[in-house]
Symmetry: C2
Subunit: 202 residues, 2 copies
DNA sequence: GACAAACACGAGTAAATGCTCGTATTTTTC
DNA sequence: GAAAAATACGAGCATTTACTCGTGTTTGTC
């Protein structure tokens, strides 16, 4: 087993650069059709160099997914002070949705890793990790709002909400900015509609 | 432009056979990773024979999508007598959902064409046609139930409902039959929740 | 400044894959 | 039953693509 070399400053910059390039190419072509050579070209670097830092395409995807995960976590942290969970449902949902949409707009390629269902087996692992991270966050918020809800019910609800979100995310980000708000509203209504029964049971 | 040969009985059987095989392979591997050679093998036929009937992989996908579209139409026709549109919302939604889930369970590969978002450009055409067909049907039902709803609002709602459906379809069909009903219920609640506000405006 | 480790290059390789083509068999047509 | 059209085969071609490797350059360490 070859051990990781001690990265020097230049190398660390390259790694970031390559991740940026991967994001662009994944966004343009989708994961399956994205070629490692194209990613290297986009980064202004030779294929050999790419492989000096990432063992293969999957490792690249994994690293990118990890980046998104942490950006998402940061965005959510920022949008959530304690007490948010007790807001009226439409506002709570809005606070969950906005940061994710924004992370998405800022990071082309997110959708390519998060959304699609037809990815080769290799990618399912990093993708599922991302999905789980999001679902987990949703579950936390739901747990804060509905403390007496049984765990399994909580998880089901979080999973469904996340999937609804993922489904509409594509439409939202590909829509021209002028009409974007409308679809966000629609997503909000869908989620509020789904969650309202829980509110009334309390 | 080479014209289509007059198919004889044997040829027509082969075409069905190949479509069946394609459905199986698409279901197992997803569209992108499915190889035409594997489809031919699955059909017990040589690659050359496959191409005697379908010009390329895309044509195969198109034909399969068309098959699904007609099966879906038939299933819906059967589930819909006039008056259904005035049923209580949960029942209406149930009547829309069931046949589609069933078509899906009977036709592995449907999801591979309908669900995923990351397909190569070539496939977007047949996929979108399928999506549009489903959305169109949903729009018809909504139009019957909410006659005074403006057209664009109708279409937006139908599109969102269809996407929610598509998102949860994957989970529903991959879940073991024992727990399937639970996810169907969840999908039902999501859609009912989304549509309820429309009901109350009347 | 010398030595090693990390970085960089890019032509090239092996494997995969959509698809072709020459040829042979079966079915239809007359 | 003979010519034509349709069906069938499967080896293999052309292309794509993830990845390698030999070689040269830059950076860090002593």
């Amino acid at each position: 087993m070859p051990e990781e070399p001690r990265r020097q400053a230049r190398g660390q910059r390259r790694m970031v650069q390559l991740l940026d390039a991967a994001a662009v190419v994944f966004a343009e072509a989708g994961y399956a059709k994205a070629t490692t050579n194209a990613i290297a070209r986009q980064a202004g670097v030779s294929p050999g160099t790419l492989y000096q830092f990432y063992a293969n395409k999957e490792a690249l995807a994994e690293a990118l997914a990890e980046r998104y995960r942490s950006e998402l976590a940061a965005a959510h942290q920022k949008a959530f002070d304690p007490g948010t969970a007790q807001l009226p449902l439409p506002e709570l949902v809005d606070r969950m949705i906005r940061p994710m949409v924004e992370v998405n707009l800022e990071n082309p390629g997110f959708k390519a890793l998060f959304g699609s269902g037809d990815l080769p087996d290799k990618l399912t692992a990093p993708t599922r990790a991302l999905q789980r991270a999001v679902t987990g966050r949703v579950a936390e918020v739901l747990a804060a709002r509905y403390p007496e809800l049984p765990t399994d019910r909580l998880e089901t609800t979080a999973a469904v909400a996340t999937q609804i979100f993922a489904a509409l995310l594509g439409t939202i980000v590909t829509t021209p900015a002028t009409h974007r708000e409308r679809w966000i509203t629609e997503l909000n209504q869908a989620l509020v509609g789904y969650l309202t029964p829980l509110d009334q049971r309390v």
